[in-house]
């Protein structure tokens, strides 16, 4: 599937476009915490894969539970979306985007926005102490 030039893509390929691997997640738009939805475990696997739900020894259920809500909030924070904890349109539009397979959170440590904010808070405290002194 390497096309040497954008204009060299054969018509047979153009006429046979496959759906994206995560397009079906859009069906979860509007799902709310506390309820159960068929296939929601797949979305949990997505969040698990990228580090938003910690390692679990058991299979994920289809319940919209606290772990999923927390994962969504962290995801929204990392991608600077509105932090609602819900599967709103803008969040799911972002989730289905193609992406790098490297996790955003590794061994419980966010490699993205959350960690940076902690570092910033420390810096702010340091400056505050300097001013007080």
């Amino acid at each position: 599937r390497l096309f040497p030039n954008v204009s060299a893509i054969p018509p047979s390929v153009l006429n046979n476009v496959t759906r994206g691997a995560w397009d079906a997640y859009k069906n979860f738009t509007g799902c709310r915490p506390g309820s159960t939805y068929d296939g929601l475990s797949k979305l949990k696997n997505y969040f698990h894969r990228f580090g938003y739900i910690p390692d679990s020894s058991s299979n994920f259920t289809d319940d919209f539970d606290d772990a999923l809500e927390s994962a969504i909030k962290t995801y929204q924070k990392n991608f600077k979306l509105n932090i609602t904890g819900q599967l709103d349109n803008s969040t799911l539009d972002h989730i289905v985007l193609p992406r790098c397979g490297v996790a955003d959170i590794i061994n419980g440590t966010s490699t993205m926005n959350s960690g940076k904010e902690n570092a910033s808070a420390t810096s702010t405290n340091t400056r505050f102490h300097t001013v007080s002194h």
Binding site: V6, I9, V13, V17, G20, P98, G101, M112
Partner: protein
């Protein structure tokens, strides 16, 4: 910018990292040149340089296209979804999903194929991982985790440059603006 846990990096004194392509992929020179250009974007701003190795087995960085489960515990998932992944220093493995519709050259934003993915854009991002950068929340940064199909994004942002220079130092020839014109061309492209 962020780093991986423990801030792994290539050892002090590393000047040139070698890379090689999985022989079984049989990549053309045009494809290989895309990776060379992607490596250049990082070497322009750091003290590191990159060269293609003769031997796949002895190269610091190995690049290959794979499909589905390819043995590293991170199977690819077909069209779109996960596009590629790379390992932190000094592992050197760089894997791309062979099921994607990779576009090597031309204006991918004008592609009629809705699943077209710009190869260089993904290569520049993954090289960042190979060098030790994690993901960034800065949307303009190369190290931002997502990229839509039919998008070209190859310019290192300030966030990327600051992150990599903190790890390896700055290229003495880099003045912060030397590559701007070529990058603007790329952006308009």
């Amino acid at each position: 910018y962020t780093y991986f846990e423990g801030t792994p990096r290539w050892p002090d004194g590393t000047q040139t990292l070698t890379y090689a392509f999985l022989p079984g992929n049989g990549l053309t020179d045009d494809v290989k040149n895309v990776f060379a250009t992607a490596f250049d974007r990082w070497s322009e701003v750091t003290t590191l340089s990159f060269s293609e190795a003769e031997s796949y087995n002895s190269a610091d960085i190995t690049i290959g296209f794979y499909t589905g489960d390819h043995g590293d515990g991170e199977p690819f998932d077909g069209v779109l979804g996960t596009l590629a992944h790379a390992f932190s220093p000094t592992n050197g493995r760089f894997h791309l999903d062979g099921d994607e519709d990779w576009v090597v050259s031309g204006d991918v934003t004008q592609s009629s194929l809705s699943t077209a993915v710009d190869l260089e854009s993904v290569a520049v991002h993954e090289i960042g991982h190979l060098l030790g950068l994690g993901h960034s929340s800065v949307e303009e940064a190369i190290m931002y985790p997502t990229i839509a199909a039919r998008t070209r994004k190859v310019n290192l942002a300030e966030d990327d440059i600051e992150g990599i220079q903190n790890l390896y130092g700055s290229n003495p020839n880099y003045n912060g603006t030397s590559t701007t014109s070529s990058r603007q061309n790329d952006s308009s492209h």
